[in-house]
Amino acid sequence: MAIAADLERVRLVRALQRVASGEAAALEDIYRRTSAKLFGVILRILGDRNEAEDVLQEVFVTVWNRAGSYDPSRGVSPITWLAAVARNRAIDRIRSRSTRPTQPLEAAAETPDGAAPAWAMLEAEDDARRLAACLEALDERQSSAIRTAFFDGVTYEALAVRLGAPLGTVKSWIRRGLASLRTCLEA
């Protein structure tokens, strides 16, 4: 599995380099390999397919224009870089609309705490395994709050409502959890 993940990483890095030199075919290759994952992430945050497709389009136009700014020597995997762009665009979109038209209830129901299904971890990369282990080590309410915030792209206020806990408590869970996570990941 690790070899498969490494191979995939190398393929994506090469494809990003080819995109940086203007090869549209390389962008298509990246799209084929990553669009379903990125679309899943965006759709979960936005809850609306049309809007999510617009954002995915923005993401790939961004990748087309900015592939050259991806630097593999910084140790960030290409899929992480792509997903960070995708989440950022999705959160930007949701923060700029005043009200959220629909809650992605079906998506939320499948994995109520955003927990990773075991099969997904099989192909995860090392950094994902380390992160999962560090999240496991947290207080369960902290890790669950962090996962929900990450996957649903919700504000502290919305998270407090969703978890049925006071705002201050939720902030405390998240802040303590993030600080512990950082310590664990840097250990």
């Binding site: 549209a24 962008l27 298509e28 669009s35 379903a36 994952k37 679309f39 899943g40 992430v41 759709l43 979960r44 945050i45 397919r49 049309n50 497709e53 617009d54 995915l56 389009q57 923005e58 790939f60 136009v61 087309w64 224009n65 900015r66 960030v76 899929i79 992480t80 960070a84 989440r87 930007d92 979109r93 923060r95 700029s96 998506a107 994995t111 955003g114 927990a115 990773a116 971890m121 192909e123 995860a124 950094d127 994902a128 380390r130 992160l131 999962a132 996962r147 996957f151 919700v154 504000t155 206020e157 006071p166 705002l167 998240i174 802040r175 303590r176 993030l178 996570l181 950082r182 990941l185």
Partner: protein, 250 residues
């Protein structure tokens, strides 16, 4: 710069704004402030990048969902400096026109109000899709997706400030026979100003309008209307507006 302490959170670690920005828990205002700070504060940007590297691997636990099969062709056609206008383009133009037509009446109405009262800011604001513009960094490339109120992106405009160039590429763009597509910019509270007729089957490059020279948020709306061949005879849009959008920093 100094971490703001939440009164409820005495004894908690100080706020880590970069972590909260990446996680996405900040309010819209705080999020936008942090987003702006990225371009001005290199240390903060480095913190954000570090948190992206820490947290983003969570996506391995996210469910994959296939987007619509026609999304890739749409994206490919919308890439700036891409001349693949292609033979399947026209099919999509008309498919898009069908989807757009239901909303044209609404946009049209809005525009009628705009042109009737050039100083009224509200109708313009309502014609804006939800995309918002973030702050500029050093010579950023900006992208605007122009689309009907609901429906796929019809045009992609990019702004290259360093070369003072604007490119408009048709995505799924309607191109009725014997008519022209005309591009407009609508400043907040102002009347539409013509930017010229644009092709429906390939990208058009034009000098960047001076109005876009300023840094930061760009509240100016771009709109495309269907006009008599050669463009509007009046200097204001006369036909239906088929797409609107605003620039976003990418």
């Amino acid at each position: 710069m100094s971490p703001s302490l939440d009164p409820h959170a005495a004894g908690d670690p100080p706020q880590d704004l970069a972590a909260e920005y990446v996680l996405g828990v900040l309010s819209p205002e705080e999020w936008r402030d942090a987003d702006r700070r990225l371009t001005a504060d290199a240390d903060f940007a480095a913190e954000v990048a570090a948190w992206e590297a820490r947290l983003t691997p969570l996506i391995h636990g996210a469910e994959s969902v296939a987007p619509a099969t026609d999304l890739w062709p749409r994206i490919r056609r919308s890439l700036p400096a891409n001349d693949l206008g292609g033979s399947d383009g026209n099919v999509n133009f008309w498919r898009s026109l069908t989807a757009a037509s239901a909303f044209i009446a609404v946009v049209c109405l809005t525009l009628a109000v705009v042109t009737g009262r050039p100083s009224g800011p509200q109708p313009v604001a309502r014609a804006v899709p939800s995309a918002h513009s973030a702050t500029a960094e050093v010579e950023p490339l900006q992208v605007a997706l122009l689309r009907p109120t609901h429906g796929p992106t019809a045009f992609v405009a990019t702004l290259d400030r360093s070369r003072k160039l604007m490119t408009v590429s048709p995505g799924a763009a309607p191109a009725p026979k014997g008519r022209s597509l005309e591009l407009w910019m609508i400043p907040p509270g102002g009347a539409p100003q013509p930017l010229g007729v644009i092709p429906s089957d390939h990208s058009a490059k034009m000098p960047m309008p001076d109005a876009f020279a300023g840094r930061g948020d760009t509240p100016i709306v771009l709109a495309v209307s269907i006009e008599p061949k050669g463009g509007s005879p009046t200097g204001l849009p006369t036909g239906p507006v088929v797409a609107t959008g605003r620039f976003n920093v990418v």
